[in-house]
């Protein structure tokens, strides 16, 4: 993909798939990111990239935070029927994307935030909560409840215990959740294409529009460059947080 993205269209037509480009030609990258500069019909990724960032950052933050809170309550502040709440949340993990499209579209319409980044943030946050809750709940189950008791005797309240005692030891599971949620939300196409169009679309939708709706010659070099641009943020998150990923996934299994 990288090789092809660096070639000119001339080279692509004449050479084979694996032949090297004649030089570092970044034109296709520039086109993919910033467009050609003429008006109508010119689709390029920059605005949609920022749309995606604006969507993914708050959505990951809120879903992770709410998941952590719910996990904390479900393990350390047990209440009557908490098992049922957990069961329903677990059930939420198995609901396919398609099943919630219609009800969600209605909800967004009523709230007046359809076709907006805010709407997408809401959709992804809500859809992410079952997963994040499951992660955090399983992590907090292995944290001794005596910690919470000790903190209560020391005079810490509900939120203080969460922020001062539990959150500081949750780094591994937070990383896991962020990677998971980021990948899910960044790579999502269905919600993006259903609940937004035009200006408010996230990058995956734009990528699709760019690659599939070209009316003229297929510009493989630009397509490749776009695809890579759309994939880079996920890669960065993986590299930065990857080493915690395995640690976090397995840390719940064995008690320290």
């Amino acid at each position: 993909m990288i090789v092809t993205s660096l070639k000119t269209m001339e080279e692509i037509r004449q050479g084979t798939l694996l032949s090297w480009p004649s030089g570092l030609n970044l034109d296709s990258w520039a086109v993919a990111w910033g467009g050609r500069g003429y008006g109508a019909g010119d689709t390029f990724l920059r605005p949609y990239f920022w749309n995606s960032i604006k969507m993914v950052v708050p959505a990951v933050f809120f879903s992770t935070f709410i998941g952590a809170m719910t996990g904390y309550v479900l393990t350390k502040w047990r209440f009557k029927g908490d098992q049922w709440v957990f069961l329903f949340l677990l059930f939420g993990c198995f609901i396919p994307f398609q099943a919630i499209l219609l009800p969600m579209a209605r909800t967004l319409g009523v709230l007046g935030i359809s076709n907006s980044v805010v709407g997408l943030v809401l959709v992804h946050t809500v859809y992410g909560i079952p997963f994040t809750t499951l992660f955090f709940r399983n992590y907090y189950v292995s944290v001794p409840t005596e910690l919470v008791k000790a903190a209560r005797i020391d005079g810490a309240g509900f939120f203080k215990i969460f922020f001062k005692i539990l959150l500081p030891i949750s780094a591994p599971i937070i990383v896991v959740t962020i990677i998971w949620q980021f990948t899910q939300i960044w790579n999502d196409f269905l919600f993006g294409s259903t609940f937004s169009f035009g200006e408010a679309a996230p990058i995956q939708v734009a990528l699709n529009n760019m690659v599939l709706s070209s009316t003229s010659v297929k510009e493989y070099n630009v397509d490749m460059a776009s695809a890579i641009i759309a994939g880079i943020p996920t890669l960065i998150v993986y590299v930065l947080a990857g080493k915690y990923f395995i640690r976090g996934l397995t840390s719940g299994a064995v008690k320290g």
Partner: protein
């Protein structure tokens, strides 16, 4: 004024009754041990005293003040947990002062308390370390320190030694004992280890099935168990309980084991109720260490029993005898030679016996 008073306390988890009509009083400076098998409700009782569990019925008073609905932090108590429960993200200093900070204590007071306690427990060199960098014994000390800095009226210990290895456990046991001797604070201590209970407690409350079976001094618990459960629970090996009946003849009370015709005279026994003793079905309780190989008192009762099994455990040996088809265990120094499958002359120390009603299991 009682430092701690518990009145008619009951607790259920759903339909399971965990504590039933618990009554308990502790005087200032006492060291009360709650002892019992797992699932007897002792930890629940401790959590209720701490305010970590709600009460279904009854009341808890600390210094005559009803704290039944008071938050844990306002009860003037401190607790040491089995897993130590040190906050993993904080260093020793932050762990110890967390409670004081929550209570908005002044900085000077916090520093003063921290210095005093950390010196006292010899953890002043460890203040900047994280709990994960401490050994088991050090963690234990820090956990105690975190409780000490609050200067509580009552210390609550929830099996604090069961996570330590055998050697360290004995050491820490002595330290807790010293600590109590120096501070003279009231302590409630939960354990399932009878040695721990005996050596630490000034009072022991033995619990079973959510009921306090006996609340007494360690000496009385050992010598005068109030029912068969206590008799059986305390002591290792536990007390021999021989089924049989009593007979009253010409002012003398005699015990006969069922299936035997040997009559053991009961002398100097403090009966709760001397009436209706004739033909009463009872259990005759005698501890393995109160069966002697040599006569040591004039009153000792001589009996010939057949040795069936010998267990050698170093400084002593435990021999199983047959007494009218009931097993009797006796403990002797390992220097004594006892031949198996032979009649051996033994002496029962009848001043040390306990008698229980076979119907009610209560001491008579």
């Amino acid at each position: 004024m009682k430092t701690l008073k518990i009145e008619e306390l009951s607790k259920n988890f759903g339909s399971t009754e965990v504590l039933r009509k618990i009554k308990l009083e502790i005087d200032e400076g006492n060291f009360l041990v709650l002892l019992g098998p797992s699932g007897c409700g002792k930890s629940t009782l401790l959590n209720i005293i701490a305010g970590l569990e709600t009460i279904n019925e009854g009341n808890v008073f600390i210094d005559d003040y009803n704290v039944s609905k008071v938050e844990p932090k306002d009860r003037n108590i401190a607790m040491v947990f089995q897993s130590y429960a040190l906050y993993p993200s904080m260093n020793v200093r932050e762990n110890m002062i967390f409670g004081l900070k929550q209570a908005k204590t002044s900085k000077e007071k916090i520093e003063e308390q921290l210095e005093k306690v950390s010196k006292f427990l010899q953890v002043d060199q460890l203040l900047e370390r994280k709990p994960s960098q401490l050994s088991g014994g050090q963690r234990q000390r820090v956990a105690i320190g975190r409780a000490l800095v609050r200067e509580p009226r009552i210390f609550l210990f929830d099996e604090p030694l069961s996570n330590l290895d055998a050697k360290l456990r004995v050491e820490m046991r002595r330290e807790i004992k010293k600590l109590h001797q120096q501070l003279k604070t009231t302590v409630v201590y939960v354990t399932h280890d009878q040695t721990e209970a005996m050596s630490l407690g000034t009072r022991i409350a033995i619990m079973n099935h959510g009921v306090i079976q006996q609340n007494d001094t360690p000496e009385n618990i050992y010598n005068k168990p109030s029912n068969m459960f206590v008799a059986d629970f305390i002591g290792s090996p536990s007390m021999n309980l021989i089924k049989g009946s009593l007979k009253e003849s010409s002012g003398e009370i005699l015990f006969t084991a069922s299936g035997s015709n040997v009559e053991i005279p009961i002398k100097d026994y403090e009966f709760k109720d001397k009436s209706n003793l004739n033909n009463k079905e009872i259990y005759f309780g005698i501890r393995p260490e109160h069966i002697y190989f040599k006569k040591s008192n004039e009153i000792d009762f001589e009996i010939n029993l057949r040795a069936n099994l010998s267990e050698y455990i170093g400084h002593e040996q435990i021999i199983t005898f047959d007494y009218a088809n009931q097993e009797i265990l006796a403990k002797f120094p390992s220097t004594i030679k006892i031949e198996l499958a032979k009649e051996t002359k033994l002496f029962f120390d009848v001043t040390q016996i306990s008698l229980f009603d076979a119907k009610t299991d209560e001491r008579i």
